[in-house]
Symmetry: C2
Subunit: 440 residues, 2 copies
């Protein structure tokens, strides 16, 4: 072994920081044989000690900026999370000529364009495999493994908390609030679960995936985001009866008019592999023009699964550290993203095409169903299936509809008109339906 | 774009060669933006023209060795298949200082050690993503994406023909021979299907996967290989009744005594993602010590899926072409494989531990079942489930058994003793059972 060690500074010793420290330490010999050179932890910056980590003999600091200025460090590993300090830390490390590895999806989704621009100017690597889908090497697969392809669409279960809740709602017929409380007690959900259950975390990850799939600047602000907090046990059951499973998906498609970027609950056919991804696991289906359908599955969070991705990035940095920057994989997979004139636009949600599941409550009176069907027809929406349930709730009849593909704005108008009907109680439940055929 | 083009020579213009030509041509602009430099097809060597490819303006030859000597070529892409000429071609290309990309699993599994040694001495890349599981980037995922991990086991559906046959046997209750004939008519199986249905092709791929998972020299001759030609419609049905699906798997596990390397029909629980991989699709489950369970799914064969992997390798070569060889990803993931003293051995099949499904035909007479149970007990094998079916075939009763984990040699002895019983007709059907928990 004739190459010098690569010297790493770890910022943050929480869940992921601790996992990274332990994996680098435990598997040091194998990792050195893979890199062709040792990877050593030069310094760790942390606020509170992690009882899982034995940092005996390791140089430590409380100040991440001291670490980012340490001349003995080649790679700064940002695992402190959040936006502001993390952004300043990463930009400082870049300014100091350090390569950066981060697991921070919010940082990359929101400040990625600025960070990559700064890194490009300094000729340093910013790697972020751990920012999406934990230990699943989906960034590497999209940027390199599928590099031959024009990506057509991708769809993923990219938030473990949401999938845990939907899995238990389905398996046990329970309500959202009930399972959420359990997930919080078990530590699978935060005490403020907004980021996870309202889809913000998934939208961060989807923004990153779409950018590297199509070579677009990061545009988190244009993502459509809808959470799972309004999915009911009844919808889960009705979907099941119709042959579907409800999953919280991040979906991005390339169409003739632009790129779709949307996170929402989605009915998918039971036989899809994505429908069989349970609990806190993640999976991403990717369709390429050459390869066809592919799928990547694994743990989307957790100390060592996320560390697995962080350390893989460190290995990549170790291999590319002496490489001319022009030969490296571009941050967002394609070089010259800013120079493309006819870059496709992110489509407004009103313009996307999809199918729909609708559930409404109608007064049990002749002609109501005909009126609903007429409204849909007038909006150009054709019905694939219609189920009028037995009367269970006084005189209100639940009606379940599946539509063929239509444009979101037409559905918005149809729902507005249906909700205005005197014989319809409350609001119409609308969940989008996608076929996402990965077996084709 | 300031870097020179990378110049590729394609040997073979059959299914994969034609697909590679077309993908490189169709997606040339995107590929150049990914590589940061154009990738141009400098020359194509082929015997018969491929009507799918427009080679107007491309330099051609009938002689692959002329191509391998062409000083204007940086990367020789070997897509002629077979052993002898392919081996000579690849070694010649290496000798001429060319980088090599190949889709040839047989070549790598059988001659890989020699080829990598030669390439190492010349400091050139030999890339082979397309050799395993077609378009699925599983080599990249194992060598790079999971580089932080000590791999514990992997198991895959890595032969599309076999999976096509087993899928249709299960869905339609048909016999092996019947579905095979259909697969041959549809072009999914060769007229001589031995390589596919007897597991040789899968064993080639498994040999490669295991080597890069654990950093072992390629040892195809030590793989245990059992095909699917003796799987009956009845076994498929009985497995289904017990909650299992029969898949033809390549399995490799790292144990305390060595490395398992085995291809055989396997009962796996229905709820596994692997059990839901249908038709000609492939999937590989990989368990790492840090990441936990992961899975990679997609098309295992076909012109453009395989080309997707070939072109991804060409992209990697384009990026690493000027890199010091010591920084490149080692051929079999780890450097210095030959220098390891205590390299684990491939275990003989008799020494592996697994569970079993057994099906036997007994004369319907008191005491037969007790005798079978006694033999199993005497061999230290405990029974998980035992089903004695209704008498259907004269006076012979089918008995179905599931055992707990035991050692193969004990099962061999038990089966020898059971088959020697006067009241047992014919031979005992034995199919191994694996839990392969990817949801853990």
């Amino acid at each position: 072994m004739t190459l010098n060690p690569v010297r790493v500074g770890i910022c943050g010793l929480g869940t992921v920081g601790g996992g990274t420290f332990n994996v680098l330490t435990r598997n040091a010999n194998d990792i050195a044989r893979r890199a062709g050179r040792p990877i050593v932890i030069e310094q760790v910056a942390y606020r509170s000690p992690n009882p899982e980590c034995d940092i005996t003999g390791i140089k430590t600091t409380q100040d991440v900026f001291e670490l980012a200025a340490n001349p003995d460090i080649d790679v700064v590993v940002e695992l402190i999370g959040g936006y502001d300090v993390a952004r300043e830390l990463v930009l400082t490390a870049i300014e100091n000529g350090k390569h950066v590895v981060t697991a921070n999806k919010a940082l990359i989704a929101v400040h990625g364009n600025e960070i990559f621009q700064a890194a490009h100017e300094k000729g340093v690597i910013v790697a972020f495999e751990a920012a999406v889908a934990g230990g699943i090497p989906v960034i590497k697969s999209l940027r390199e493994g599928l590099g031959a392809n024009r990506i057509e669409w991708l769809a993923g279960i990219i938030n473990g908390t949401g999938n845990y809740i939907l899995t238990h709602m389905r398996d046990e017929g329970r309500a959202f609030e009930d399972v959420l409380a359990e997930a919080q007690a078990l530590g699978y959900a935060e005490s403020d679960p907004t980021f996870d259950v309202e889809g913000i975390d998934a939208a961060h990850k989807l923004t990153i995936l779409a950018s590297i799939a199509y070579g677009l600047p990061l545009q988190f602000d244009k993502a459509y985001t809808e959470g799972i907090s309004r999915v009911t046990a009844e919808d889960v059951e009705q979907a099941d009866n119709l042959g579907y499973v409800i999953k919280h998906l991040g979906i991005s498609k390339r169409t003739e008019t632009g790129v779709e970027l949307r996170v929402h609950p989605t009915l998918i056919p039971k036989e899809r592999l994505l429908a069989n991804v349970h609990g806190v696991k993640n999976a991403i289906a990717v369709m390429g023009d050459a390869v066809g359908p592919t799928l990547y599955y694994g743990p989307g969070a957790g100390a060592e699964p996320t560390a697995s991705a962080v350390v893989a990035d460190i290995l990549d940095v170790a291999r590319d550290i002496s490489t001319d920057h022009r030969y490296r994989v571009p941050y967002l997979a394609f070089s010259g993203i800013d120079e493309v004139d006819d870059q496709p636009q992110i489509m407004p949600m009103e313009e996307i095409d999809t199918a729909y599941y609708l559930r409404l409550l109608a007064v049990d009176r002749p002609g109501v169903l005909a009126r609903v069907a007429t409204i849909l027809s007038e909006e150009g929406i054709s019905i694939e299936a219609l189920i009028q349930k037995e009367v269970t709730d006084g005189e209100l009849v639940p009606i379940i509809l599946l539509t063929h593909m239509t444009r979101e704005k037409h559905m918005n108008e149809a729902i507005r008109r249906i909700e205005a009907m005197a014989d319809i109680a409350g609001s119409v439940t609308r969940i989008r339906v996608e076929s996402l055929d990965e077996q084709e």
